[in-house]
């Protein structure tokens, strides 16, 4: 009888412990990952901004001979190492202060540090599709409000050399196997791109991984860092449907 009581008691304590640990995991996932990722991503933004302004892009003086004197500033973004932050995304619709780092790659670790760029897709401003992924919930949730984007909204990508402004066109909700949304011409795999697109993918619905909420934007303007970004592009456009 005593042995039975001991066995039942131990099983009960184990189950309670397991329940507490599961609750702890939920708290960690929903709350703690946001706390750590938000502070970590803010540090990354600061470092990027420092790097962008300190050694701002200067055309190589030795290359000023011949017709190749005007190098493509966007070409500086080639061959970004996996996991490295190379741009800042600003979305006025998500708030005037909204700024998140864009990193090369879309694995679990990279997406915890900011918005991930699908390796092999176009870089910001290039013809093709600059495809990105971001968390909708947890890990700082950079794309938490992706469903609030409206056609005409500006997406500003800040790189070492340029401000690249995309304008939201449309959205789709697809199952996670729809790789055609990150094709060079979104949803037209195999087609030859002639325009510069940007794709944002995030989980849908919130707190689920059943589907993906996908927003397509088209390149609107490219500004040089030296020229600066007109303030009108850091506001929600008046024409955009609220």
């Amino acid at each position: 009888m005593k042995a039975l009581r001991w066995v039942v008691g131990t099983i009960g304590e184990l189950l309670i412990t397991l329940g507490v640990l599961l609750l702890l995991f939920v708290a960690w996932q929903l709350w703690w990952t946001d706390v750590t990722a938000n502070s970590e991503q803010a540090v990354t933004i600061q470092a990027l901004e420092r790097g962008f302004t300190h050694d701002a892009y200067q055309p190589d003086p030795s290359a000023t001979q011949g017709p190749a004197a005007t190098p493509d500033p966007l070409a500086t973004l080639k061959n970004v190492p996996f996991g490295e932050a190379f741009a800042i995304v600003r979305i006025p619709r998500f708030g005037a202060d909204y700024a998140r780092p864009v990193l090369q790659g879309t694995d679990h670790e990279t997406l915890g540090k900011g918005v991930g760029h699908y390796v092999g897709t176009a870089m910001p401003g290039d013809v093709g599709n600059f495809a990105t992924a971001g968390h909708r919930t947890t890990y700082g949730k950079p794309y938490a409000d992706i469903d609030k984007l409206r056609p005409g909204d500006f997406i500003v990508i800040e790189t070492k050399t340029n401000y690249i402004v995309y304008a939201v066109q449309r959205h789709v909700i697809v199952t996670p196997d729809h790789v055609d949304v990150i094709a060079p011409v979104p949803q037209h795999p195999g087609a030859t791109p002639t325009e510069a697109w940007m794709t944002m993918t995030a989980c849908h619905p919130k707190f689920s991984a059943q589907q993906r909420y996908v927003v397509f934007s088209k390149l609107m303007r490219i500004f040089t860092r030296a020229g600066g970004l007109p303030a009108s592009f850091m506001a929600v456009p008046a024409g955009a449907v609220g």
Binding site: F25, Y118, G120, H135, A202
Partner: protein
Amino acid sequence: MYAPLWRLLPGRWPVRAFLSLILAAGVVVLCFLWVFPTIAPLMPFNDNTIQSGSPAPGPATTVP
């Protein structure tokens, strides 16, 4: 399970209660900083990219 642990702790009951709290806090810290980050990538709800289920050419398939 917890009774032997309680008996193992030294001192009177307030000391034991205090030590138990410290032990529990240690378990929480261990979970938050090491255990949970390790198991999180294995959770199905932490997958939020676009990728094809079967091996096919294209950039997305390089994403784990």
